[in-house]
Symmetry: C2
Subunit: 229 residues, 2 copies
């Protein structure tokens, strides 16, 4: 967490966020007013934050990782646009460490070359579009960071993506799986495309698939930048 | 800068880095030993850091943004592999805020959907490969974050990439240009693919090209996540 994010919390009157994330920062919130709610209630939550800001409150909307990557920043900005111009509150997005980067650091240095970030959540994106994106990213030899790789309703998605990538990459291409990236209990496994289906991957995991040059040495996943050594 | 990065500097005996970056953190370094050098001397610098660590020093290698994205993390890990296993020093990569995310926050929320990160530096990557990657990213409708968009030796590269993206996206697709992302003097412009060639873009800029749904409202560049509003 950056000092800018801590400052923003301190300077806010009201903290709005998903209950699970609010719990992670409870020491920083003190006795400030909190508006928390559950999963899949993002629109309600952010609308409430905008309404409170229109009423004159300084409101901090909490998002995990980077609020600008599959987080709340876009939704808040979209909802603010619906407020009459004269009443529209100012909104500052404070960048954070997104799971791709936090996970990469744990694994070694897999994102040292061009990379693509893809979410497998099909709640708001058609599954066919997600598969097409994965195909293009695989063809382009991008390192691929996968968010929301699995949940109860989408148990096979990660394996379908793995099959797409294997059309273009060797079975021994390294794959890193990081669970709870940047949170207490973070842990990781390095495997390869071939063995990926045997691994334990859940909704809270981030999966990083190497490009054609990525290798594993001494337990670290490394994508060479191209320096002559 | 995260507290973890500050802690690492404080706990180190020797700080190694590119002179320009060392200057940015001189207040944090105090009177510690510093090994700085110039541009394109990355291998020398990181080899020196590894040698000093093998000798028993705690060494911090400084990199701008996220060391794991086109930074020094991979090079250090590659060089460490060349040290005899018994003498090999431990290396911890501390993730940071990379320019894509810092720039996105300044512009609004352009990275709210799947995105690709591409460097246009052809010092170590063939220009044809870079163009092919941009083509796949454009076809896949990824938001595209471009690093190292221009330098004296590569004045036309960004325009070539823009022409590739325009094969698949409308001329009015929003484009954000952020100069000095996350550093003193940061400033930005929002334009579109059509007018991009008229803009002032330098080596220190990050360019973010929206996907087919990205729009600009009230001076903010927003890529909708897909919530029904």
């Amino acid at each position: 967490m950056t000092p800018r994010a801590v400052d923003a919390l301190e300077q806010s009157d009201i903290i709005v966020g998903y209950n699970t994330y609010i719990a992670l920062i409870k020491d920083l919130i003190g006795d400030k007013e909190v508006v928390g709610n559950g999963m899949r209630q993002e629109v309600d939550r952010c609308q409430k934050a905008v309404d409170l800001a229109v009423e004159g409150n300084k409101v901090a909307v909490v998002s995990s990782g980077d609020p600008g990557v599959y987080g709340m920043a876009g939704l808040v900005l979209e909802l603010i646009q619906k407020v009459d111009a004269q009443k529209r509150p100012e909104c500052i997005v404070i960048p954070g460490l997104t799971a791709a980067n936090t996970s990469a650091a744990a694994l070694g240095a897999p994102l040292m070359h061009d990379y693509a970030v893809i979410s497998l959540s099909d709640l708001m994106t058609p599954w066919n579009q997600i598969k097409k994106r994965a195909d293009f990213a695989a063809q382009g030899d991008f390192v691929i960071a996968i968010y929301n790789p699995k949940s109860r309703g989408r148990a096979t998605y990660l394996n379908e993506i793995r099959d797409i990538v294997m059309k273009y990459r060797k079975p021994e291409t390294p794959v890193g799986i990081v669970r709870k990236a940047g949170r207490p209990g973070m842990n990781w496994t390095i495997t390869d495309l071939e063995k990926l289906p045997d691994e334990d991957v859940d909704m809270q995991s981030t999966v990083i698939i190497g490009n054609s040059n990525t290798y594993v040495a001494d337990g670290k996943m490394i994508t060479p930048r191209g320096y002559k050594l």
